[in-house]
Amino acid sequence: MKLTKLLMFCISSLLFSVIAIAQDVTVNGTINDESGLPVPGATISVKGTNKATASDFDGKFQISVPSNGTLTVTFVGYVTVQEAVNGRTKLDIKLRPESQNLNEVVVVGYGTQKKSVVTGSISSVKAKDLESLPITRVEQALQGRVSGVSIAANAGQPGSASTIRIRGFTTLNNNDPLWVVDGVIVDNGGIGYLNQSDIESIEVLKDGASGAIYGSRAAAGVILVTTKKGKAGKISVSYTGYAGTSQAAKKIDLLDASQYVTILNEAYVNGGKPAPFAPTTDKGTNWQDVIFNDHAQRYSHELSFSGGNDTSTFYMSFGLTDQEGIITTDISNYNRKNIRLNSNHKLGKYIKIGQTLGYSNEKTIGIGNTNDEFGGPLSSAINLDPLTPVLVGPEAAVAGSPYVNNNALRDPNGNYYGISTNVTQETSNPLAYTQTRLGNNDFSENFVGNIFIEAEILPGLKFRSTAGAKLAYYGSDNFTPVYYLNGATKKDVNELFRSYKKSYSWNWENTLNYAKKFGDHNFSVLVGKGTYVDNITSGNDITYRGVPATTHDDASFNVDIPIADKIANAYNAQALEHRVESLFGRLNYDYKEKYIFTGIIRRDGSTRFGPNHKYGTFPSVSLGWVPSKEGFWKENDVVGNLKIRGGYGVTGNDSSPDFLYISTVGIQRNYTIGGNIANGQSTNAIANPDLKWEETKQANIGFETTLFRDFNLTVDLFNKKTEGILMPVPVPGYVGATGKTYANLADMENKGIDVELGYRKKIGALNLSVNGNFSYIKNEITYLDKGTNFLAGDETVQSSAYEINRTQVGQAYNSFYGFKTNGIFQTQADVDNYKNAAGKVIQPGAKPGDFRWQDLDGDGSIGSNDRTFLGTSLPKFTYGFTLNLDYKGFDMLVFGQGAGGNMIYQGLRRLDITNANYQTEVLGRWTGPGSTNSYPRVTTNDTNKNFTNPSDFNLEKGDFFRFKTIQLGYSFPKEWIESISLQKVRLYVTGENLWTITKYTGYDPEIGGPTTAGMNNVQGVDRGYYPQAKSYMLGVNLQF
């Protein structure tokens, strides 16, 4: 707020200092806000003239005015005051804050709108909400700050994307919202190129009526990002930087060596085998200590310049962010550099041109598998036995030990990295694993920009043409040395690999906008045409085998190796481009900002559909009524500025693969004939020429109001129904298809409520604001294609016998599905007495200590029909709050966020590795009658599938609340810094993820989408999730 005042002051003084010429009466005055503090930069003008001035730092002003004249005082965010001079020469004017946001402008897609006449459900985050927050990726700016938007990190690996869902899951396909950055459509995964401090505002279009302007691409919601523009006036320079350290917020409790031996020996004995391990009192190796770094470094520098004059303004910035991961830091790091240049220019009186251009260079060093039980340091640390030492001496290389292998890895001192003989397969010593990936990285370079021209052809009629493009180069650069981690994880020939890919998308939009006021009737009409092309992707990769090198640094492509060891692949995207052609129009009308109407229609054609259904039409209408502007409304201190609004809109989705409407022939169905590989081709899946647009129809009704002057309340109720969801038909194997057939198979409904409540108060020198939001959402499948009773999920965990999720009418999408436990058999008599109605013993093979599975179909045995729904993977409610305090030079921010109502599948332990370590929960296992009724016996011969049946035993509640950010800052008084020509100096400390309240037993209950490509939308499966770090940072803001 202070900053804005300062800025306004600078600009106003520039603009108006020349105009203030003495005449008639000279009035001296002071402008104060409601708490008596001076307001600098307010504009004081003489009504009916073009004479004006601005208040100074102390809120004082001087202006000459006819003694019977009237002064108009305006300041952003405050109610305009008209004050008759009546011959006075001294005036004290008090400004009352405008009930918040009334004059705020909201970006609505192809234009902006005054917030007071917005009829859709749109949430905003402004630059000032994000200042000096340690945000690495732009979507984190939205987390917990807007209602109706749930955001969960995909991994704690620095630079990882998050899973964003606006008002829940809209479809069974791609649920990522549409990102539009300064008018350029940027795919969800590619949004990481943005630098946080370049963002002016983020708007989330949540309802169908707002989204309809983006038609076929808006079903999952739209996020509009506007980057900063320069402001006319003195060049402003600002710097924000922080440095800090991160560590794991939580480690899980795993068995130590003595506990491990006890449990494993017991399991072997229970499995009918001799106990293999000699008892020990050692603690052994805690592999978590090996992988976690409690001092991972992170820092960020952002420097920006902005300014301009009446014809041209500019904004340019440079950003640098570097963050080390908390797991095996040597192979976990993220680095990004950004450059941005935005400018706007006037060409004469009627034409404006402008451009935005952002460039980013990202380098990600990743640990390989995350959220994957099959390998990766985290999964290894969880599953490796504590008996294996981290390092063993060179003397270990005796006959019979795994260290005799020539490729066993050693540290610089010649010691071998310990190789477990108890836990093998993909699980391996994470330190040794780290050595096999040193230096490997993924890189990407993004250019995103646009250029526009806007011409005012006739008064009120504007033509605008915008061309935007995104060009990305990305790939990876890896060297894999020869290694032997264990018998199943080894490499005998080294490999140098480089991939290089390019993707390109562009769009061109032309709009005509006509705004006209007839008395109290305001009209504006927008018509436009757009072309959107994406998915222009190509790339190649090269592998050299057996290069003469042992490390990434030494490995080179400039070597002579046999031609057979040089492997190259090249490809293009199968569909050379995905194109959408659109026509759209919008009509806005209001009468005295009291009765408001917005109508939108958009027609899109897509390359993804056949001639039968190439085009889709997406209309919407919304209405608003502001009773507080009616004559009957009495000014009161309870309810003010009430706006009631409602809308209905249709949006679409074409985010299915290409070529589904026509039968295609696929490659790579080869066979060895005559000793050589013959290339085979055959038809793919069954085509569906009737494939059509998926439609999302959303009704929204809500209101915005102020309560008791200091509270702001927005409430929205919505019902979002997606019809004809495009999805793969679950085809039985006997069809023999290769690939998937798609159809418009299902309907899904999301009903919910979004609430945003804000409170702002000034108590003496203390400024206080609290903003909270809460959303509740209920997802339900309402229809599945005839003959389809359910859709079996495609997610399995390890060696679980069944998939763990299912989609069925009446249930939430992809609900967890499996067996229900009903306690543990305490005695053989319990087993024998567990019978169905017909007297059949249900689990004759079970032993005391095994789970009693519920025989849901009553057939007297446990089988696939005894599975049922076990809870939803989707959070039912999300919430967040932000507390801002400032007192004199001090400020404080507390930001917390939470979600709940969902279940998490805890799949951290490798079930297919008998000797894999356990979490300490196993110490409460069943050991004899009466010992426990909730954790089964351990055994190497788990014929009752206590652990491998997907069941309620594997599921845990995912509720959590997290103090995401706590920040304390101090701004030096301006008297101290003015002399060194600084406008602002602020120091701050930030803590991130300091405290999480949850009952979940894994590392982190905040689990986003699957990391494995092709896995469909099943959230909340923990396979060894890279947890988010707890960080402490020290930062500074400077402004010149």
Binding site: Y350, A399, P402, Q425, I457, L458, F463, S465, G487, K491, D492, T511, L512, K529, N572, Q574, A575, H578, R579, E581, S606, T607, R608, K614, D658, F659, I662, S663, V665, I667, R669, N670, Y671, I673, G674, G680, Q681, S682, I686, A687, N688, V729, P732, G733, Y734, V735, G736, T738, T741, T788, N789, F790, A801, S861, G863, N865, D912, I913, T914, T948
Partner: protein
């Protein structure tokens, strides 16, 4: 005035751009890169050939997969092997086949689905071939190969799952899918026999070396003989098998087949497509398979060889001196049962079939007199299967697991000798001569022919080649021989159909599986 005209031209420009959106249909035609529509394919001999190759592709699953490789799966279900591997849940599909806890929920679904992919690729070829302009003789041969392949796929399906849908034409509409019902086993057999009889006429007797791996007249005839035997048509079986076996057992047949002189020569992996090989599935070390394309269709390695290798096998200094084979570090599947080991003990074929790993190791991995060290598999007996064992020099690709170019026999002459002898009822001079020829080559003394003698011989001769479970079920010995593994008579003679086949279909599960 100048400004106005500028404005007007802008208006015109704007309106043009905004409204000139009529002709977009053409722009909205998707342009594919290398995407071929079915309607533009199957136009010439080259494309017909690639369609034929695709139909062959699924043969490679036999040993080119893990738990859904029929070779491993069927061996696991037999009394000759335990699944082995790293633990009781390693490759669970093999474990449940091995310990007879197999159910619709845990059978690897691709065991079933891969065969049907093969069937579908045959069906599309049979639908397209008649209209493809190409050399008539080649068209006839392609048609015959496709029919033989379809017969091969259905023969495995009907023997493993008994009650299966018999689909003979491409399914082109999704609406057809839920209407499909299972056929009677005898109808499936009738179709297999029809396909094979039609194929035999048009298949070539011999193949030039560049075509090795494709179906021949002999392969289809041998397969037909075998099918007849399973279909209980003994006379027809004997007649067909006699054709490939020739008039004098032990002498080359008119098809050119002859037993390899030494049994051990069969397991020298360089001897591909030898005189004894009637139908062989080909693998190569040249496809650069990695996990990214594993089971995609362009991975052409024998993966079973990796799974069957001994875990962490390492030769000690003594072992190196003793010139022990340089086996790869395998994953320890296919642990030989004591029953098979004891049966083979004393037979010369033992040395090519079983490796006494425990004996070579000594008391444990620290035994100073040990020749090797290795890690026990699950169900370890100390005996490992080596007919397809890979050695380190077989590793030719940077992924050491997926690229073994070791072929597998599906039908070889010793098999057809014994099948014919069985079809003859296990009596008579011809049956005796067939049995004698097999035993003579193996280096063991003749025994009087009988069905039991033939069954016993099959086990000795063909151990681990994927026949045993079928043999036990066909000859009614399964219940007795597999009781120790948990085999349930009246249930386990057929495998359960994967439960995913029942989602929204008319399928009926095999008896006694839920």
């Amino acid at each position: 005035m100048k400004l106005i005209s500028f404005k007007q031209s802008l208006v015109a420009f704007g309106v043009l751009l905004t409204l000139g959106a009529c002709d977009t249909d053409e722009k909205l035609e998707v342009k594919g890169d290398g995407v071929v529509y079915e309607e533009n394919f199957y136009r010439n001999e080259t494309e017909a050939y690639s369609g034929l190759v695709a139909a062959y592709d699924k043969l490679g699953k036999f040993a080119g997969a893990m738990e859904n490789a029929p070779l491993l799966f069927l061996n696991s279900a037999s009394d000759d092997f335990f699944a082995g591997g790293g633990g009781p849940d390693d490759q669970p599909g093999l474990q449940v086949a091995s310990n007879y806890t197999i159910s619709p929920g845990n059978i690897p679904p691709n065991i079933w689905a891969d065969y049907y992919k093969g069937v579908a690729r045959c069906n599309i070829m049979l639908a397209k071939l008649p209209a493809i302009p190409m050399d008539a003789a080649k068209k006839t041969r392609f048609t015959a190969e496709v029919k033989a392949l379809r017969a091969y796929y259905y023969f495995d399906l009907v023997r493993m799952f008994k009650n299966i849908p018999l689909i003979l034409a491409p399914i082109t509409l999704k609406e057809e899918i839920p209407l499909i019902e299972q056929a009677k086993p005898q109808d499936v057999y009738a179709q297999i026999e029809k396909d094979l009889n039609e194929a035999i006429t048009d298949l070539p007797m011999t193949l030039p070396s560049a075509e090795l791996g494709r179906f021949t007249k002999g392969a289809a005839t041998a397969l037909l003989g075998k099918v007849y035997l399973y279909d209980n048509k003994k006379a027809e079986a004997a007649a067909e098998l006699a054709k490939v076996n020739g008039t004098t057992p032990g002498q080359p047949s008119s098809y050119g087949y002859n037993l390899m002189p030494k049994f051990s020569d069969l397991w020298n992996h360089a001897n591909k497509f030898n005189t004894e090989s009637i139908f062989e599935i080909a693998y190569t070390d040249k496809s650069n398979a990695d996990w990214g394309n594993f089971e995609r269709g362009d991975d052409e390695g024998n993966v079973a060889a990796q799974l069957m290798g001994i875990r962490d096998y390492t030769r000690t200094k003594l072992g190196l001196t003793a010139l022990l084979p340089d086996y790869i570090n395998g994953w320890g599947f296919m642990v030989v049962t004591n029953d098979l080991r004891n049966t083979l003990l004393g037979d010369p074929r033992y040395a090519s079939t079983i490796y006494d790993a425990a004996a070579a190791r000594g008391t444990d991995n620290k035994d100073p007199n040990g020749l090797i060290t290795y890690t026990d598999s699950y169900n370890e007996t100390g005996y490992h299967f080596i007919k397809y064992a890979a050695v380190n020099s077989d590793i030719k690709s940077s992924n050491p697991f997926l690229n073994f170019g070791i072929n597998t026999y599906v039908i070889r002459l010793a098999d057809t000798y014994l099948l014919e002898a069985e079809a003859l009822g296990g009596t008579g001079a011809r049956a005796q001569a067939l049995l004698d020829a097999v035993r003579l080559r193996a280096g063991v003394l003749p025994v009087p022919v009988s069905l039991d003698a033939i069954y016993a011989e099959r086990r000795l001769e063909l151990a681990g080649e994927g026949h045993r479970w079928f043999d036990l079920v066909r000859t009614g010995q399964a219940a007795a021989k597999l009781a120790f593994k948990g085999f349930t008579p009246g249930k386990n003679e057929a495998f359960p159909i994967p439960y995913s086949e029942f989602n929204n279909t008319k399928m009926v599960q095999n008896p006694n599986y839920n």
